[in-house]
Symmetry: C2
Subunit: 684 residues, 2 copies
C-alpha cells in the first residue's frame, strides 16, 4: 500500500537537488575573485559578460553548498580543497587536480561558474582521481535554447507552441510574469549544463509577441535580469514585418533605407535597455511568416539587414533555413519538401554577413524520429551554420512517452557528410562549430519543468552535447541520474541507476519501432501530431507523404526516377542513398518507394518488418513499465513519490499509445497490402 | 467590368425585402383586432400567446407594407381587399377569397400573423385566384430552431458550435448582447415561415452557459422580449448537472427529492421572469454531457424529472435521443453506433411524461448526407417524438457549398417506416405530429445571416416543411426565390428563378456525388468536418467507420453476419435492408460490406460507381458555377451585387473543394483496390 503523495508546490529541483552538491559542499572552498564592477568585456580577452553579478552568484552558490553540507569558504591561500580563481585565460575553464586538491581557473565569472558545476557533476570523483590538468571549453560557440512561448495564449497553438509542460515560465495572463524567480532557477539549471543563451519567444511571432521588441522592452529587460545572474543571455524572435506592423513603414524591403534605419534604431534601443542582449532569431518566408520574398529579395538580403543592425552591439542573427512550400499540391510528386532548404539556401553561400548564423534543422523534414541529416549542413562552407534540434518531443511522444533523444542527436552530430575520409573526415559537429547549436526547449511551468520527469534528461543531455558533442549518450544519462536522484549524501541507489538505463537508453529506438517505419516519417494526427493517423497528412498541402498503395510504400527521392533529393548530398551519400542495395534500412522509405515484399538488409520483407517491429516495440514498452515498477520498494527513499506517480501515469499512457500505434499501423497495412503476418497475430 | 461593390452594413433582408410585400402593400387592408391587454390564454381555446404585443406587431407590419407600396389601412367594414380578423377559431388560420377579396381569420394574433405572411408569400396570386376557403394549420405542434450558440467563445467550438455564419446574434463578449434588434429581425423572418420556438443556447451546456438558467435570467428575458413581438417563444438548453454545478447539491439524481425541488424552483423562477417561456432542451449522457446514467437511472427518469418541474407552467422538455458511446474501440466490430439510440430509448416507450418530447436525429448516425431513417422513429408509439434536422450544414458543405437540403428532409419526413401499407401507410411526418420538429439553426451575425446567401433557402425551407411537410421542395424553393429576389414591384426576373433552380434543386444529390459514396458516411476531416479524409475517423473512438480494405468496403449491419442493426426496423425495411438484392444502392455501404467488384442495381460496380459519381459531381458543380455566372448581366438590377459577390466566392470554393474530394477519394480507392478506372482518368 502506498501512502498518499504530498505534492511539493515548489518546482522540482531537476538535476540540482541539494544532494547533488554534497561532495563540493563538504569541502573547504576558496574563491579568488578580484573586485569586479564593470562588465568583463573590460578584461582583455574576455567574453562580454556581467562579471560582478555572476561572480556574486558564484559566491552564493558556494555559500549555499558548503552551508548545507558542512564544508566552508576559506581563504584562497589556506590550501582549500577546491579553489575557484579568475585569471585572464583562454575560453572555457582549466581544471587542475593536484594531490586531491582542485583548482578551477577561468577568465570570466560565467566560465568559472561552468567550472564550478563541472566539479559538482564530478562529485567525489572530482577530488579522488589521479592528478590532472585539463582544459574545458565548449565545442560550440553559441548554445541556444529557443522557447516557442507566446505572450498571449494562441487560439490554436496555446501558450507554448508544441509545449507539453504546462504554461510558459516567462508569460502569463497576456504579459511577462511579475514573479520571474522561476526563470532564475531555470537559468541555474542551464548554467549547470553550460547553456548560456535563451530566445524567450516563439519564432512564429504573432502580433502581440512582436511588441516585445518595442513597447515591452522594459519587461524583456526584467526577463534578462532574471537570467543574467547565471550568465544566460537573452535573445528575441522578431518578425520580418516589424518595420510595417510596429514602425508604420509602408514596406519591410530589406534594401529600403528607411527599413534599414528602423532596424538599426530598434537594435539600438534594445541594447540601450539590455546591454548584454544576445541577438535576434528569425523565421522568415516560412509557414506564413513574412520575409524578404515579398520584395523579390532573398534570404541573404533579409538576414544581412538584421545583421547590420545588431553588428555594432556585437549581436548575432539566427536566421532559420526552415523554408518550404506549405501549400503544396499532394498530386504533384515532383515537388519535394525535403529539397526545399537546400534549394533556397545553398546558392546563397558566401553572401551572409559574419554575424549571421544560418540555423538548419537537423533533418530535411521536421524533427522526425528518423530522417537523414540535412544536406544543407554540407552545402554552405562559407556560412556560419547552426544545427537545430528539438528537445520538446513534438514528434517523439510529447513528453507523454519516455524517449531519450541523446542517441539520436549524437548520431546527427557525429554524421560525416563527406564519409569517413572526405573533407578530412569532418562531422556535422565540426561543420557547426562556429555557428553552434540551438534547440527548442521542452520547459514549461509544470512542477517537473518538462511534464514527464524523465524528459528532464533530454534537456540535460542537450546542454551537455552542446558543450561536448562527442560525449556518449549513456554516460550523459548516467551523469543526469547521478545528479537528479542524488540522496542527501550525494549517493544514488544502484538499482535506480540501473532501471533508468533500462528505461531510457534505448527508448528512442523503441519509439521508432512502434511508430512510422523505416524513415517514412509522420503518420501522426494532423495538427497536434500525437498518436497515429497513417493517412493523416497524405492528401494535405504539407508535403509529408508516404504514397502507400496496395503494392508498396515510400518516397522516391532518387535522381534516377524520383525527386532528385539524393543529389543534394556530396559523395559518398549521394550514391549510398541512391542505391537500394546500399541505402540503410532505417532510411529506406525516406529515399525509395518499394513493394511490401522488398527484402531488407536485415533479411525480412518491408511488410513483415513493419509487423514485427510494432509488436516488438510494444513489448519493449511493457518492459520499460515493468522496470520502473520494480523500483516500487525504493519509493520514497530513493525515488520521490511524486516523481514515481507522474512517471507511472506517463508510462501507462505510453503503453496505451504504443498499442494504439501498433494496432493501427498493423491493421492499416494489412488491409492495404493483404499480406498476412508470418506470425499470424490478431488483425482488426 | 464590374463596378465596386458597396456592402450594406445592415443585415440582408433575406426573404423579406420590401419588394416581397409589394402585392399586399398595394392593397386596402382592414384589421379587426379587439383591444387585447392580457395574454391570449384568456381567450377560450387559444394558445398561450402575447396577444397585445403580437397584435401591435401585426398593425405595424400592415402599416409598413401599405405605406411603402401605396395601399392603406381601411375600416374593416369598408370592403377591404384584405381583412385580417381575430375570432375564436381553431388552431391555425382560415383563408377565404371571395370575388378577389381576402379574409384571414385566426384565434390568436400569432396565428393571424402567420396568416398575414401567408398572403405575403402568395403575392398577387392571393387576390387573383378563384374563390377559396382554406384552413391552414401547422402539421407539427412544436416547431423549434435550436441554436448551438455559446455565451463564451469555446476554445474548440467557437462562439457558435458548428456555426458557419459568423458569431452569435444573441451573445458577444461573453454575455447577452445589449442591442438585440437583430434578434427581433430574425423573429420576423421566422414568423414569415411559421416557426414559433427558438432554443437560444447550445445543447452542449458549458459552465458559463449553464448560468443562463439562474444568474442570467434577466438577460434571457431580454432575448425573450426581442423574440416575442413576432410570436416566437424562448427555450433554454440546460445541463442535467445543474443542481450540483449551480445549486450546490451533492447529487443530480433524478429521484432525489432535493434535486426535484431544485428543478421545480428553477422552473418557477424562469416562468416568473418569462411567462411565455417554452421549455428546456436536454442533451444528457452524450459526448461527455452529464445525465441520469451516473445514478443508475434511465432517460425516462431523467426526462420526467424536468417534465415535472415545467408541467405547472405548460412547459415542454425536449430530451434528445442522441446517446451513444463516443469512446468506442475501433477494433470491436460488434459495437455499432447506429444501434445506440434505439437500444437506449425503444425499451423506455410508455414511460415518458406527456410533456416530454423525445427528440430523435433523422438518421441513426449524425446528420450525414445520406443515411437511413432512424428506427427509433418507428419504435416508440407511446411517446411524443420529434424529428431533429440540421439546417446548419455541418456535414453538407458548411455553407461554403450550395446544398439545398429540402429534398433530403422531404425524403426523411415522407419515409414510411412500415412500408407503403403497414400501419395505415403512416409516414415519419405522421409519427412526429404531436412531438414536432426541431433543427439546428444555420444563422449567425453574418450580413447574409447564413454565410452563403443561398443557404438562406435551407432555413426558409425548414420553416415551410415544419408547417407542411408534404410541400414539394422545388415549390418551396420557388417561393423563396419569389420573395428573396423580389424587385421593388414584387417581381422576380425569370432568369433568376430559372438559375436558382438550376443551381439548387439537385445540389444535395450533387454534394452526395462528390463526397462519401453509397451511404457509407463521414470520410471528413476529424474535428471540423470539412473536406475529405477517407481514414480520418477510421481508427478513432467515434464509431464512424467504413472498414475499407484492398478488397472491399462498407459496414455489415445485417442480422445474418453483422451488427444486427437491420433488426431494429419493422417490416418491410428489416428485410429490404438485410438483403443485398433489395437494399437500395444509395444505402448499400451503410448496411453491407461488399467487394469493390459488387454490381449495383444501376449495373456498374461499386468501384466504378465511386469513380464515376465523383467525376460527374465535379462536372455538375462546374455547371452550377456557369449557371450562376450567366446572371452577370442582371447584376445589380435583378441580383444585388453583394449577393452575387458572396455567391461567386462560395461557388469557387465549392468547386475547389469538390475537385479535392474527387481526387482524394478517387486516388485513395485506386491505391487501395488497384482496380483501374474504366474511363482511364488521371489518378495521382
Amino acid at each position: 500500500m502506498r501512502s498518499e503523495i504530498v505534492v511539493d508546490p515548489a518546482p522540482h529541483p531537476a538535476w540540482l537537488p541539494d544532494g547533488a552538491l554534497a561532495a563540493v559542499g563538504r569541502r573547504r572552498v576558496g574563491l579568488r575573485l578580484p573586485e569586479l564592477s564593470g562588465p568583463a568585456r573590460d578584461i582583455p580577452g574576455a567574453d562580454p559578460d556581467n562579471s560582478a553579478e555572476v561572480a556574486s552568484t558564484l559566491r552564493a552558490e558556494v555559500d549555499r553548498a558548503t552551508t548545507a553540507h558542512g564544508g566552508g569558504v576559506v581563504d584562497p591561500d589556506d590550501s582549500p580543497d577546491l579553489l575557484l580563481t579568475l585569471n585572464p585565460d583562454r575560453h572555457g575553464f582549466r581544471f587542475v587536480r593536484d594531490g586531491g586538491r582542485v583548482t578551477v581557473a577561468a577568465s570570466t565569472p560565467t566560465a568559472l561558474l561552468h567550472g564550478w558545476f563541472h566539479v559538482v557533476r564530478l562529485g567525489e570523483a572530482a577530488f579522488t582521481g589521479p592528478d590532472a590538468d585539463e582544459r574545458h571549453s565548449p565545442a560550440f560557440a553559441l548554445r541556444v535554447l529557443d522557447h516557442w512561448d507566446n505572450v498571449d495564449v494562441h487560439p490554436v497553438m496555446g501558450q507554448v507552441e508544441r509545449g507539453y509542460s504546462g504554461g510558459s515560465i516567462f508569460y502569463a495572463d497576456g504579459r511577462v510574469r511579475d514573479d520571474l524567480s522561476r526563470v532564475t532557477t531555470y537559468a541555474r539549471l542551464l548554467a549547470a549544463v553550460g547553456i548560456d543563451r535563451v530566445c524567450i519567444n516563439n519564432v512564429n511571432v504573432h502580433a502581440r509577441e512582436a511588441r516585445l521588441l518595442t513597447d515591452d522592452l522594459p519587461d524583456v529587460a526584467r526577463v534578462a535580469a532574471a537570467l543574467r545572474p547565471y550568465g544566460v543571455r537573452t535573445h528575441l524572435a522578431v518578425s520580418f514585418a516589424a518595420p510595417m506592423t510596429l514602425g508604420g513603414l509602408p514596406t519591410s524591403d530589406p534594401l529600403d533605407d528607411d527599413v534599414r534605419a528602423w532596424w538599426r534604431a530598434a537594435a539600438d534601443r534594445v541594447w540601450a535597455t539590455i546591454p548584454d542582449f544576445g541577438g535576434f532569431v528569425v523565421k522568415a518566408d516560412s509557414e506564413g511568416q513574412p520575409g524578404p520574398f515579398a520584395y523579390g529579395r532573398d534570404h541573404a538580403d533579409g538576414a544581412n539587414l538584421l545583421a547590420e543592425a545588431v553588428a555594432p552591439h556585437g549581436g548575432v542573427v539566427h536566421w532559420r533555413a526552415f523554408v518550404y512550400d506549405h501549400t503544396q499540391d499532394w498530386r504533384d510528386r515532383s515537388t519535394d519538401r525535403a529539397r526545399a532548404a537546400h534549394d533556397h539556401f545553398a546558392p546563397l553561400d558566401g553572401r551572409f554577413a559574419d554575424n549571421v548564423v544560418v540555423q538548419v534543422k537537423h533533418g530535411p523534414m521536421d524533427f522526425q524520429t528518423r530522417e537523414p541529416v540535412s544536406p544543407v549542413l554540407a552545402a554552405m562552407p562559407a556560412a556560419r551554420l547552426a544545427i537545430e534540434l528539438q528537445v520538446t518531443q513534438e514528434y517523439t511522444g510529447q513528453q507523454r512517452h519516455a524517449c531519450y533523444l541523446a542517441p539520436w542527436w549524437s548520431e546527427n552530430l557525429g554524421f560525416r557528410p563527406w564519409g569517413g575520409e572526405g573533407d578530412d573526415g569532418r562531422a556535422v559537429r565540426d561543420v557547426v562549430a562556429s555557428g553552434g547549436i540551438a534547440a527548442v526547449s521542452n520547459v514549461g511551468d509544470d512542477r517537473f519543468w518538462t511534464g514527464h520527469p524523465l524528459a528532464q534528461a533530454n534537456l540535460y543531455a542537450f546542454g551537455r552535447l552542446a558543450w561536448d558533442p562527442t560525449l556518449d549518450p549513456a554516460t550523459v544519462l548516467d551523469e543526469w541520474v547521478g545528479l537528479t536522484f542524488a540522496g542527501p549524501d550525494g549517493a544514488v541507489h544502484p538499482r535506480v541507476r540501473e532501471v533508468l538505463h533500462a528505461v531510457l537508453d534505448d527508448s528512442w529506438r523503441t519509439y521508432e519501432a512502434y511508430t512510422a517505419p523505416l524513415g517514412v516519417g509522420f503518420m501522426v494526427r494532423p495538427g497536434h501530431h500525437y498518436g497515429p493517423d497513417v493517412d493523416g497528412y497524405e492528401y494535405t498541402p504539407w508535403g509529408t507523404y508516404h504514397f502507400a498503395d496496395r503494392d508498396g510504400i515510400g518516397v522516391d527521392r532518387t535522381r534516377a526516377t524520383g525527386t532528385g533529393f539524393t543529389g543534394q548530398y556530396p559523395a559518398p551519400w549521394r550514391d549510398v542513398y541512391e542505391d537500394l542495395a546500399t541505402c540503410p534500412d532505417e532510411l529506406l522509405l525516406f529515399f525509395h518507394h518499394v513493394p511490401y515484399s522488398h527484402v531488407l538488409h536485415s533479411g525480412v520483407t518491408v511488410i513483415q518488418h513493419l509487423y514485427d517491429t510494432h509488436f516488438a516495440g510494444v513489448e519493449r514498452v511493457r518492459e520499460m513499465v515493468a522496470a520502473w515498477e520494480s523500483l516500487a520498494d525504493l519509493v520514497p527513499a530513493a525515488v520521490p513519490a511524486d516523481v514515481d506517480a507522474r512517471v507511472r501515469e506517463r508510462l501507462a499512457e505510453q503503453l496505451r499509445s504504443a498499442v494504439e500505434w501498433r494496432d493501427q499501423i498493423y491493421t492499416y497495412f494489412f488491409r492495404k497490402s493483404g499480406i498476412p503476418d508470418a506470425h499470424g497475430r490478431t488483425i482488426y
